[in-house]
Structure formats: C-alpha cells, structure tokens
C-alpha cells in the first residue's frame, strides 16, 4: 500500500517535470540555428513557396500561438505533422518506439543478469586470475565504441562465419509478420508466427550483443564492488562464522545486499543504452527510434524533435521510478 502511494505521488510529480520538458524542448529547438522549411523545398522554390510551406506547418504563427497549438495537440494525443515526411508524428513514432524498446530492454536485461552473476562470481574470487580476467574483459568492452564493435560483429558473424542474417532489418519480410507493437519478436510471439520468431531472434543477436558488451561493464563493476563490501561486512562474517548454509549465505546475505545499488545504476544504464541505439540502429539497419530522432534533429523537424525528447524524458522518469520502487523493496532501510 505504501509503495502504491509512493508510485501515485511520483506519477503526480511527473506532470510538472514533463511540462518543463515540453516548454524547454519547444523553445530550445527553435533557438538552434537552422530552418526546417528550407530542407524540404525543391530546386525551383521561391520565397512564396517557402512561405506557403511555413503556413502549412503553422510556422508562420507567433511563437505563443504555436506553443498553444502544440499543447492542445498533446492533450488530444496529436504530436503534430512531420515537416520532412508530411505524416503524423504520432503514427511515425509508434512504428519506431517498439523496435528500439525491444532492443534496449532485451540488452539491458541480459546485461543485468550477466553483470550480477559475473560480478558476484568475480568478487568471490577477488584478486585471483579469473577476477582479473573478468575485470579486463569488462574494461575492454567498456572501451570499445559501439559503432566499431557492431561493424566487427557484422564482419565476423555475417560475412565470415555466415551464422547470422545480413544487417538489413529486423525480421525477414517473407515471414509475413503482422506488426502489432513494432517490437518484432514480441509481435511474432503474439501472433504465433514460428518462422518470424526464429527470424526476429536471429536478427536480434548481433545488435543485442553489441549493446550488452557496451553497457555491461559499469554494471559488473558496481556489482563486484558491492559484493566485496558485503563480503567484508561484519553481518556477513558473523553469518558465515555461525556456519549458515551456503545457499542461505548466498541468497540471504550476499545477493540481496549486493543488488541494493543495482536498480539506480540500471536506470542510468538504460538511458545510456537508449543513447547508444542511434549508432547501433545505423549499423544494423534497425530503423528504430534513435535514427528517427537523430534525423529529426539534423533537419530541425520541430514536431519530431519535440515528440522524441518528450518520449525519452518519459522513459527516463518511468525507469527511475521503477528503480526506486525496486530499491525500496530490496533495501528495508529505505522509507518511502
């Protein structure tokens, strides 16, 4: 009950945060140098054509009017019309969010599992060769740029070994997958499309691996440090000295205490992973949210930038909310 009250309170706090994001994004994107209309005009365009295009997207209105129209649209679920494509931004975004979320959620989940298991395992072997080996590997993984790593994985996994499909999308179009959420693996499972499940899984492996290698290092190091702290703590020493069973020691004393810090770090890593998808999507032809938002920013497609920043902010806030709740559940000292 207390947690539900906490969640409700935090959700209410979302409103001013998102309002701030809306106002700031709206103003900042217009302060940036660059004219979105000039990028859509043909070779013969005149100033009159530019003015007509501006009027078509409401850019001829005073700023306050544009903002009011934007706010009114948001209330009714209308994110506006993309200047580049002329299509509704909400519909475009719906197609793009699913693939990116699928990629990030799977990658962060795998990274969390890997970091937890290896971090604890490494801490229990602190200063032994295996521990050093894992730390070095994590450092290397953290140091390699995702763009380069992705290209190397494509070269090895697709070109040399031929194990994985060409980096030309997210699922084989011939599987006849019916898109529902935009997350192809989820859609394939929901529609019970066996070939699409296999295809989507195959296409996911390399981009997920790229993201996992990129984000696992900070998680692993945090888990290892926490585990070492717990292993050195008096309560753990006392429990071990009393001869408690290994399983109890492990899950009752070590794991729970170790994982206390993980949720907030995982939330941060989730944000990093969303940022990393811009390059990963490019390398793997993923056509997700990151590439869409980047193109919107490059061409100053105001409605696209506004919508993408708002959605990213919403994701961040919700992920941190979840992290706080999990933290509270894991750590009895936390009062919410």
């Amino acid at each position: 009950m207390r947690i539900l009250r906490f969640v409700a309170r935090r959700l209410l706090q979302l409103i001013p945060v998102l309002l701030g994001v809306i106002v700031l994004t709206f103003l900042l994107v217009r302060v940036l140098p660059g004219d979105p209309v000039r990028t859509i005009l043909g070779q013969n365009a005149t100033e009159a054509d530019a003015a007509a295009a501006r009027a078509r997207f409401g850019l001829d209105q005073p700023l306050w009017r544009q903002f009011l129209d934007y706010l009114t649209g948001l209330v009714t679920g209308d994110f506006g019309t993309s200047i580049q494509s002329g299509a509704p931004v909400g519909a475009e975004m719906a197609l793009r969010v699913g693939p990116t979320l699928e990629l990030v959620v799977i990658a962060v989940t795998i990274a969390l599992v890997v970091a937890t298991v290896l971090g604890v395992w490494s801490a229990r072997r602190a200063e032994r060769p295996a521990d050093h080996g894992i730390r070095v590997l994590a450092l290397v993984g953290n140091s390699v740029p995702e763009f380069w790593l992705g290209l190397v994985l494509v070269l090895v996994g697709y070109s040399v070994l031929g194990w994985f499909p060409a980096p030309n999308g997210r699922v084989d179009p011939d599987t006849g997958l019916t898109p529902l959420t935009g997350a192809d693996l989820v859609d394939a499972v929901l529609t019970g499309n066996g070939p699409a499940i296999a295809s989507a899984a195959a296409y996911l492996v390399l981009p997920v691996l790229t993201l996992v290698i990129g984000v696992v290092a900070p998680l692993l190091r945090s888990v290892r440090a926490s585990a070492l702290e717990v292993l050195h703590s008096e309560p753990y020493a006392a429990a071990a000295a009393h001869g408690l069973p290994r399983r109890t020691l492990l899950y009752g004393y070590l794991m729970r205490a170790t994982l206390v810090r993980l949720p907030s770090l995982a939330a941060l890593v989730f944000g990093t992973a969303i940022g990393s998808t811009v390059l990963v999507e490019y390398v793997f032809s993923w056509q997700g949210f990151g590439q869409w938002a980047l193109r919107g920013l490059l061409y100053r497609d105001y409605p696209v930038v506004q919508a993408s920043v708002l959605v990213i902010a919403l994701c961040y806030v919700l992920v941190f909310l979840i992290a706080d709740v999990v933290h509270a559940i894991l750590d009895p000292r936390v009062r919410i």
Binding site: G42, V120, A126, P195
Partner: protein, 552 residues
C-alpha cells in the same frame, strides 16, 4: 584481503558452477537460437547462389522513404527514385547510347501511359491524350479526371510540381482543362521549349477515385492516406512494404507503353551503413548497392563477382562564391580562387580519376554547353596576379560544406591548402543540413561547396534555378541584367539554334563574372553483381528500374 579470499573461497563452488552454467547456458541459447534461425532463413543465401536464374533483383538503398506522397514530401532521394518507378508518369524520357553507357535521352520525351502529348501551332496549348483501358491496381481506369485531380492537388500543395510548372507558364488549376474522358489540355501562359521535359518529371497521376474515399473535410487531398499508402499503376506496383526495411516491387503487367519492366520482382532493402552494403554485395545477398562510398567503390573494382558500372553524369561539383559578400564581391578575388583550385589533384585524389574536368557552369552533356564558359585552370601565378589586381595580398573567408559529406570535406581540405599559397585563407566550416539551409536562404555564406544535378537538362532551367535573381539555388546571390534578359527571352524562344546562341552568350557572361568555381563532373559509379545488366544512367539522378535485369 586474506579474509575475503577465504570467504569467497569457502562457498564459491556452489555459486560459481550454477551461476556460470546458467549464464553460459543463456548466452549459448541466445546464440544458438540466432544461429539456427539464421540458418533456417536461407532465402537470401539461396538468392545469392541462384545467380543468373534468380528472378528477384535485390537493391540496397541508404534509407527508407519518408512518405509515399510525392506532392508533399521533403527532399528525399530514395522517395523520389521510387516515385519514378511506381507512379504512372504519363510521358517519360527515352534512352540513348553515350559511349559504352545507356543514358536517359532528355531530347526524346515519349508517351508511356499516355497515347500522345503534343502542342498546338502556338505551342501554348498542349493536348494530352490518354490510352484507353489503363488501370490502377484498384481496377479504376486512369482517365482525364485523374489527371485533373492530380494537377489540382499539385497546385494546392504549392510544393514541388507547382514550383516547377511556373517555368512553363502554368500557375493555376484553371489552366488544366478536361476535354473528354481521355483528353486533357494544358494552357500555358507562354510557349516554352521546356514543356516536354518539365512534364516528363511532373505528369504523374494519382488514383483519384480511390483517393476520394479517403479524403475528409479537414484533409480534402487525402494527404494522410497517401503518406502511408503507395501509389499504384506505374511501371511497378508495390507488392509489399515492410516499414523501414524492405519494399518489394512487382512489374505492372498492365503497362501499355514501350519498354515494360524487364525484371518481374525487385526487392529494395534499406542498408544505411555503406560498409554493410559492400559486405552484402560481396556475399551476393544484394545485386546492386545504391549507397556505397567512393573508397569502397575503388576497392570493389577488383572484387570477384562484382563489376562497377561507370557512366557519365551531369552531376557537377562547384564552389559558389557570394558576389555580394566580401571578399568575393571583388571579381578579381573570385578569379584568384578559380585559378588556385587544384582541379586535377581533386579529380585524382577525391575521385580516383573518375571525374571529368568541367569547362563551364553548364554541365558537359547539357545541350548548349560551351567550353568557353569557364576558362580557368590551376595556375598559382595567375591567381597571384588576380590577387594583385584586386589590390589584396591576403583575404580571409570561411569555406562551408555539408558536415556528413566525406567527398566535400576532402575537396575543402585540398582547396584550403592551395588557396593559402596565394593568400586566400579559408576556415573550413562543416554545417548540418538545417543550418546550411537557413544560411543559404539568408545568402550569407561567402564560399560554399555545392554538388548536384538538375532535374531538367536545359540551360533555361539552370538559369531559373541557379543564376537569376532570387533563384533557389543561387547561393552566390548572383545577378546580371543581361542574364535576366536572356532568361526572359528564352521562355518564348523555342527554336533550338536561337536558344544555342543565347546559351553561348550566357556562358561568356558567366566566364567574365565567375560566380562559381566549377570543380569537376564526377562520373556515376554503381557497383553491381556480375550478372546485372541494363543500367540506364538517369540525367536527373533518379534510377529507372524497368530496364534492369539480373542475368547477362
């Protein structure tokens, strides 16, 4: 430290084995699923091994199109290329040979879905006669009503077509009149030698019966529907479009004109990274790579199973100098830069020798080209003399180019290096598309690298877009009263010899005024699998896919 070793060591075996096994198992499962799935979908590999007998042609492009609606789309080259192949263009360019290459013949515009398109004696009224029985995929017949609705829509959009129609004196929907179900008249304000070419790139038609089903009071032109739904009735129909990933085209069996599609199925897949296009081309998973970098193309020339089609192109690389901004408001400084640019070095270092030296702002293959249009060569002594004539020992300027354009960056570096030798100090300024667009509209870029080709292969169109006052591509802010007069005169000059004389004079004026440095005309290079044939080089840069085959 010792304590932690003991603590860890005491209970580690239970955790380590299980934990590591669980982890290893999970990773192995993921990899195995992926690998099995990859092996199970053997179609692309089969396609690769299928070789000449494979019927589907696979083409990689760099991006998915942003919209299916040609009237309202931004400047999206993938989209514009697809439109050429899926919209019914009622008239189109023919094909002619140029050396070893086949190119679109801009002097020969022929009816395709139309039966004829001819002017009256005044050359002001053009009559379009439609073939009977031509149908869209919906089964609706293509009639004069569709043409009228499509042109009304284009004027309402006030975008691409409306802009280009002004060049031939079409400014409003009233000038497009339906005579009967299969006849439409275009009443131009003046006769124009450009009409056939302008209409060749503008006379595309929507299925208006279908469109009206999706029109609403707030969206009378069904913009929302057309943005998401491919047009039908062109050389190809869109059989399937997987958003962001692949578009499958199937040849339209109902196409009534000459040169129908030679390949029944074309699959266009989106592969943004040039390096991945190269890998897939080498692996045989794609047949044509429409987005490979110059460096990769050089390497691919030696790769087995791949050939690089090279064709002359009228894409021009230029450096536009602002004639109204210091220091390039002085014609002698402009001449100094024109002599300082290392043309041959750029052709060799940037294009691997695969470009032609340009001798006029009029592209090499454009009718009316005259080599006297740009009498400048790399000559530092003459450059210094021009600087002396300007009374300047040094000048400073920024040199603007597109931030994500490797080719322009290389050119900028080489120009900067040579220009410094004659006292022209350039600060390299890469700009993103929106910022570049804004600065161009304000005409406040003193020096900028541009690259592109015109949609209409004619000097009148070139003047309209690039050299008359206020023209959209006139980033130099160039204006010359005689050029303006010639441009006005050219509207109504339809005799080719007379036009030729006008263009000769235009090039003399431009040679004296030097608003542009004309760097070169790079050839178009296209890496394809060995069994691909039939490439026709488009003079507007937008590939016509109907000529392509996947067997030698």
């Amino acid at each position: 430290m010792a304590r932690s070793h003991r603590a860890g060591g005491a209970s580690s075996p239970a955790l380590s084995r299980r934990g590591v096994l669980q982890l290893g198992g999970s990773v192995a499962l993921l990899l195995a699923t992926g690998a099995c799935a990859a092996n199970s979908e053997s179609k692309p590999r089969d396609g690769a091994s299928g070789g000449p007998t494979a019927k589907a042609l696979r083409i990689a492009v760099s991006s998915y199109l942003s919209s299916w609606d040609q009237d309202f789309v931004g400047f999206d080259l993938t989209a514009l290329m697809l439109y050429k192949n899926v919209f019914p263009y009622l008239i189109d360019y023919g094909v002619t040979a140029a050396g070893d290459s086949q190119i679109l013949d801009t002097q020969n515009v022929t009816p395709t879905f139309a039966e004829s398109f001819e002017p009256d004696a005044t050359q002001r009224v053009w009559t379009l006669k439609l073939r009977r029985g031509v149908k869209f995929a919906s089964g609706n017949e293509l009639t004069a009503a569709d043409v009228k609705w499509s042109k009304d829509r284009a004027f309402a959009a006030q975008a691409n077509v409306a802009g280009i129609y002004r060049t031939i004196g079409l400014t409003g929907p009233d000038q497009v009149k339906v005579v009967d179900d299969h006849t439409v008249e275009f009443h131009q304000a003046f006769p124009s030698a450009l009409t056939r070419q302008i209409q060749a790139i503008s006379l595309y038609v929507f299925d208006s019966t279908e469109a009206k089903k999706h029109a609403t009071a707030s969206d009378p032109w069904a913009k929302e529907w057309f943005a998401k739904n491919p047009p039908t009735g062109g050389y190809y129909n869109v059989a399937k479009a997987t958003q962001g990933q692949e578009i499958e085209l199937s040849a339209n069996p109902g196409y009534p004109g000459p040169d129908p599609a030679k390949t029944p199925t074309i699959r266009i897949s989106v592969v943004p990274a040039a390096s991945n296009q190269r890998l897939q081309l080498q692996a045989g998973d794609i047949d044509i790579a429409l987005g490979i970098s110059q460096r990769d193309i050089q390497d691919l020339k030696k790769a087995p199973g791949i050939k690089v089609i090279s064709a002359a192109s009228n894409r021009q690389v230029t450096i536009q100098m602002s004639v109204t901004t210091a220091p390039f408001n002085d014609v002698n400084v402009r001449k100094a830069l024109a002599h300082a640019v290392p043309y041959e070095q750029i052709i060799n270092n940037v294009y691997g020798g695969d470009a032609r030296a340009a001798k006029s702002p009029v592209p090499l293959d454009m009718p009316g080209y005259d080599a006297a249009g740009y009498p400048f060569t790399h000559d530092l002594d003459q450059a210094k003399a021009a600087m002396a004539a300007a009374g300047r020992s040094t000048v400073d300027s920024e040199l603007v180019f597109e931030s994500d354009n490797e080719e322009q960056q290389k050119i900028a570096v080489q120009v900067q290096s040579e220009a410094a030798k004659v006292g022209i100090n350039l600060k390299l300024t890469p700009l993103d598309p929106a910022t570049l667009g804004e600065r161009r509209s304000k005409k406040n870029v003193p020096l900028q690298i541009t690259s592109g080709q015109l949609w209409v292969n004619d000097v009148e169109y070139m003047l309209a877009t690039s050299f008359v006052k206020g023209a959209n591509l006139n980033y130099s802010n160039y204006s010359n009263p005689e050029i303006e007069k010639i441009y006005e005169q050219s509207h109504t000059t339809v005799d080719q010899a007379a036009r030729g004389r006008l263009w000769k004079r235009v090039q003399e004026i431009l040679a004296a005024d030097v608003p542009w440095v004309v760097v070169c005309q790079p050839n178009f290079n296209l890496p394809v699998r060995d069994d691909v044939a039939g490439w026709v080089q488009p003079m507007d840069g937008l590939a016509r896919l109907r000529y392509l085959t996947a067997s030698a």
